[in-house]
Subunit: 142 residues, 2 copies
DNA sequence: GTATATGCAAAACTTTTGCATCCTT
DNA sequence: AAGGATGCAAAAGTTTTGCATATAC
């Protein structure tokens, strides 16, 4: 059931307490997208003593190991989410901060085509839509 | 020829030395995309004494006035460019840092459609392709 | 036992703000 | 003359780093 240790070992990272805790946090937390500060606060509220510096180090290592993905939204803080192998882009609600995901093959295809036409080979890309909910679920809907 | 004062007056901003200098800098500089630090360094190398805090304030005011556009690339620093009324997205070269622009009506249309389908109305968006030059112009080409 | 990880504090880096002074209108 | 703008220094916010100690293998 708890395959966290295996997942860590697979990457060559030592299986330490902080790493297991933080990985489990992403696997179980209510919110899928979290900043370093979000993670740290969750740990504190769980009475789990992990230093903020360790949180940053672990998040960076997890990103390099392919366990997490990092995104930079317009608020200036990096947010992380579990990498489940399916690339996607984001819609960020400007009212409530909720983050949803989407994937569009046509946008992906056109990006490649455009880059190539301008003489580039895409290594990575980031597409974020900043929007306002028009559905009823948004708690901050005007 | 120098319509800088008019452009500033039109926005309701007072025509001050720093504002004229910084606007002229964007109108004449070799690079179209500049961070606050880039601007500040250019000013220093021109022996123009403008405080870094003023640079930040002016850039923010110019953005709010619609004179400049702000983008956040993955390096964590905001970059500004002249707003010439034509929305576009960016290709950032990961070797040399060069920034190119593109616009694709189809991508724009699909973004709107996707947001709507998920219950959002787009307010803004940011699309950046991180890529490597395959043409000869890149000075850092491998 | 050795190499790596962690915690804490300090530092780095970008951006913002308080306040006295100066400048535009 | 009055309100807004600027400069400087200090502060704020996020992320990184140095170093002594603790932990995994």
């Amino acid at each position: 059931m708890n395959d966290t240790p295996h997942k860590l070992k697979d990457t060559g990272l030592k299986v330490t307490g902080p790493r297991q805790t933080i990985l489990a946090l992403f696997q179980n937390a209510a919110q899928r997208h979290m900043s370093a500060e979000d993670v740290y606060k969750l740990l504190v509220s769980d009475n789990t003593a992990i230093g903020l510096a360790t949180v940053y180090r672990v998040l960076t290592q997890f990103e390099q190991a392919g366990i997490l993905n990092r995104s930079n939204f317009e608020n200036g803080k990096a947010v992380f989410e579990l990498n489940e192998g399916k690339h996607h882009d984001h819609i960020v609600c400007m009212d409530c901060g909720r983050v949803e995901e989407f994937f569009d093959a046509e946008i992906e295809a056109r990006q490649k085509k455009i880059a190539k036409a301008q003489g580039y080979e895409i290594e990575d890309h980031s597409l974020s839509l900043y929007a306002r909910c028009i559905k009823s679920g948004c708690p901050y809907k005007k």
